[in-house]
Subunit: 379 residues, 2 copies
């Protein structure tokens, strides 16, 4: 351990039911938990300057190994000084392992014990992702939180398919650990997270958790959810899955989710999230507000001089009317994507801050109830 780099450290400052709030200390800064990580797929949080992402309250962003290995390439980013310098984001970055996206985006993929061979969806070029190569890529990117390489199967398959996929992911978790350690990243202050699999099955999740704990990780992700199973099944799984993971380590629910998903997951003991929803919605005209999502392309906003959200302090709400945002989105203007992405990320970060405050003050149940009353009300 290099003394210049603070050890990855997770301190829980308050719990309220299963919900926890705290702080992860890392080499590039602290992460307040529960934390939402905006997704910076291709070395950019789409339609946002990095300083604007930071200003919404983000402590950490996510980068995608699959996208970055294909374009501009991990070796190239390393040559250019690493991902932080490349994209001008000096705070922590978590990178996924590429395991999920290689299965959902690439072409002609072939899964073996060794890893996944595939062709790029961009130019058809041939590539191979293995646990070892995923660790190498994440090291080349300069990731602060490296994710183990895993396979994420559809949750609706037979139990034996889910079980053998989970077993494979656990063998890959061990190879990820070994690859990460061999790369010297731990000494440099980076962290490695394992990923629990087992879909909706409590026993398989338990086996997966035990295997991960035996290997030992800095944090643990709940993987294999938000793949179409629906919120009810996801929450049913989160009723047991986080409890199977070490209480003193961060728990990260991958790829989730809608605002009400986040509240329900924090209620069940989750500390970290990532999702493309606020950024993607910002480009398609969907705005998140305290009283639910609304579609700014709808004609009812065309002459509405009110701001998007009276209570929000973002530029879109401070300087513009709903009518203007409607006009921008109807006209396909880039500024529409810019402003609405900024608003949606602000909404997500404000929600995380409100949850942290509620947990700190021991009123999370009331907060969650009030939130759902306003956000999910029939209108």
């Amino acid at each position: 351990m290099d003394a210049a780099h603070p050890r990855f450290d997770f301190a829980i400052s308050a719990t309220d039911g299963k919900a926890r709030t705290g702080r992860i200390a890392m080499r590039r800064g602290a992460i307040r938990t529960p934390a939402f990580m905006p997704v910076g797929t291709a070395a950019t949080v789409k339609a946002m300057k990095p300083e604007a992402v930071r200003a919404t309250g983000a402590d950490i962003i996510l980068g995608n190994t699959y996208h970055l290995m294909l374009r501009p390439g991990a070796e190239r980013i390393a040559k250019l000084g690493g991902l932080h310098r490349f994209m001008n984001w000096q705070h922590p970055i978590l990178t996924d392992s590429g395991g999920y996206q290689v299965m959902s985006l690439s072409e002609l993929r072939k899964l073996t014990e060794e890893g996944v061979g595939f062709r790029s969806h961009i130019d058809g070029s041939k590539h191979m992702l293995t646990p070892e190569r995923s660790m190498e890529i994440q090291r080349l990117l300069g990731s602060d939180i490296v994710m183990a390489f895993d396979e994420c199967p559809r949750a609706d398959q037979e139990r034996d398919v889910i079980a053998s996929s989970m077993e494979l992911s656990m063998r890959w978790a061990k190879r990820s650990r070994d690859g990460f350690d061999a790369g010297g990243e731990h000494a440099a202050g980076a962290a490695l997270f394992g990923i629990q699999q087992g879909a909706l099955d409590e026993d398989l999740r338990k086996i997966s958790a035990e295997k991960l704990i035996e290997i030992g990780f800095d944090g643990y992700a709940v993987g294999g959810l938000a793949v179409g199973e629906g919120q009810e099944a996801m929450f049913a799984t989160l009723d047991f899955a986080p409890d199977q993971l070490p209480a003193d380590r961060p728990r990260y629910l991958m790829g989730v989710g809608k605002p009400d998903d986040l509240v329900g997951a924090v209620e069940r003991g989750i500390d970290m999230f990532d999702c493309v929803l606020p950024t993607r919605s910002g480009r398609t005209g969907q705005a998140f507000t305290r009283t639910g999502p609304l579609n700014l392309r709808n004609a009812r906003h065309a002459e509405d001089t009110a701001p998007l959200d009276e209570a929000c302090k973002c530029a879109a709400c401070r300087d513009y009317s709903r009518a203007y945002l409607h006009h921008l989105h109807k006209s396909g203007e880039i500024l529409g994507a810019m402003l609405l992405t900024e608003h949606n990320l602000t909404f997500y970060q404000d929600l995380m801050a409100a949850m942290r405050g509620a947990i700190e003050e021991g009123r999370f149940a009331a907060f969650a109830s009030d939130f759902r009353r306003d956000y999910l009300a029939e209108r």
Copy 2:
């Protein structure tokens, strides 16, 4: 004249050859001349927040009557408090008359003495633009500098076609003056500019200028250039056209142009410009630099850690490498358009500031010579 509104006032502080520098005082602020006006077609300077446009050094932007009348509509913008409030730009706005764009963009147009009937390129709806309606639309938008409604013919047509088109534009100029005056905009502090036509023909330009001067305007535009005639023919026309217009009024060269066009036009007595080039180029990967334009999509930039322009203070040059800008443009990322638009507008405004300084200090000829040596050098 309402005492609350400063009169439109143009003061020339220095001349150097035919080049002039000065200041237009207006109700919403001053415009330093020679001035470049970024184009805000659909109530947004594409890919830029208005405060960022201002930060590049822009004193005034341009809005397009044709686009705004079709979407969201002039009456709607008026109902929403006017264009300045709608788009959150509190500085001066010049609006074109719609005359040029209705002929280049609309469908099924029919030109008569009365005006131009046409169908919208957006939804096929039927519209009519006349001098009176153009004045009304520009009043509804809340324009600070209103342009007379004119016809802009292709410059390569027979002299009699050019002549009769010019004569029509002069009759429309008178109707524009009358419509503008009837709307009370002059009393409210808005200005009206006439537009000289006559293509490349010195005699027709002279007749057009005399008719405009007889009507009387706050400023005079040189119209009908930058329509494919080439820089040499444009400069040849600018060798006489600005001199035909009043020396004590601003002269505005519409729709121009490339950086070397601006220098050559200032040299010939032009005070104001607008062009989509810096913003459009920002979206297609073309960057303007002191040593000429460069295409960031070119593979030679892929591993170049140098900034786009060492001497530029914009965010794109301060915080990012050419390699990153290359990556963003190759990946079609919105941030690529945002950063390069900001750079290009900064480049244009820096160029205008440098020209103003050179004129003020009586060294414009040397400035122009140095500029051309660096910008137009064969490489």
